[in-house]
């Protein structure tokens, strides 16, 4: 999977590395700011109130 993505990144090595870093950062940001805040209240970790 990752090898396939790597093969399809265009440009010379330096550009490929930079693109890869940006892609990883994008995925991490998506997780941190969209996915995790959405999924967090649905998980049984941090309910502090009584009903």
């Amino acid at each position: 999977m990752y090898a396939w993505i790597w093969r399809h990144l265009p440009g010379p090595l330096v550009v490929r590395i930079l693109t890869a870093v940006v892609l990883v950062a994008g995925v991490v940001a998506l997780l941190m700011f969209v996915v995790f805040p959405w999924v967090e209240p649905k998980l049984p970790f941090n309910q502090v109130t009584t009903e």
Binding site: M1, M32, F45, N46, V48, T49, T50
Partner: protein, 291 residues
């Protein structure tokens, strides 16, 4: 002694160079793909832990700071009320508005949080949240506050470590209210001759009457909402406002990282200090009980 395995490789038995390597390649790609997916999933879970424990702290710290600034601004405004009646008014508080500050000197001088109105996810992200409908600081009844124990600033991270008689100070616009944790269940018997003799425990004793059996710390099921009732544990047990004790209740999750149970701390008000308008910034002596 070993025998070299030299047999079985007749020229006819040699594998063809075309077909099998291709099949092996496909298998390898699939296995590698699954492996990469599993490793990715593991990294995502690790990242979630980082998010939950650290990133939410940073976000909440910013929101808490904003709420504190807003509250300080409100308190800093010149009084519209005439001087003699410096009385708290907690009317029309919107969800998510800060209205008081709580300090627990046992957790250090820097332990202070602005208490937010309401206990929705959003409010609790800012700081400890006041259960709507329960009493306000200093009022007879039960001033009930929920707070996160993991992440989001984790204001109630250590409330399991609170001992009986530890002070919980609630600062409002005009007053300081001193609440103290009630005796724990194992201390109730022999309180008067035991821990109760500590000068800090003045005003703290196992409560009687309808409050019989109320202790400083308990662990309950999430459905036991009665712990924040005016008479904790007894919903509907009416008592006239005049004979109500002035209590404070903290709730958080228990055990850490789980929502299986709730940790509850009950405290009783022992003292009230009116803020002296002539001496702004004056703090009550209880705030120095850091050990």
């Amino acid at each position: 002694m070993t025998t070299l395995d030299t047999g079985g490789h007749t020229p006819d038995g040699l594998v063809g160079p075309e077909e099998p390597p291709k099949r092996a390649d496909t298998a390898r790609t699939v296995v590698r793909g699954i492996g990469e997916l599993l490793i990715t999933a593991g990294l995502v879970v690790l990242l979630f832990v980082v998010y939950e424990v650290y990133v939410t702290d940073i976000v909440s710290a910013g929101k808490q700071r904003d709420a504190t600034t807003a509250l300080d601004n409100t308190w800093g405004q010149p009084d519209t009320v005439a001087e003699p009646e410096r009385v708290e008014r907690f009317t029309d508080l919107g969800e998510g508005t800060g209205f008081a500050k709580m300090h627990i000197p046992a957790f250090g001088l820097d332990y202070g949080f602005t208490v937010i109105e309401g206990t929705t996810e959003k409010s609790l992200e800012i700081g400890p949240g006041h259960y709507r409908g329960t009493a306000y600081p200093g009022e007879p009844g039960n001033f009930a506050v929920a707070g996160h124990r993991v992440g989001k600033g984790a204001p109630f991270n250590d409330i399991d470590l609170l001992n009986s008689c530890d002070a919980i100070l609630v600062e409002t616009h005009y007053s300081w209210f001193v609440y103290r944790v009630l005796p724990k269940s194992e201390e109730v018997v022999g309180w008067a001759t035991g821990k109760g003799t500590d000068p800090r425990c003045q005003g703290v004793a196992p409560l009687g009457g309808p409050y019989e059996g109320l202790v400083g710390q308990q662990i309950v099921r999430p459905s036991q909402g009665e712990v924040i009732a005016p008479i904790p544990g007894k919903v509907g047990a009416e008592s006239s406002v005049g004979e109500r004790a002035t209590l404070m209740t903290l709730t958080t999750c228990h055990p850490r990282f789980s929502d299986r149970q709730r940790l509850i701390v009950h405290a009783v008000m022992v003292k009230q200090w009116a803020k002296d308008p002539a001496k702004p910034g004056e703090t009550p002596p209880e705030l120095k009980e850091t050990s």
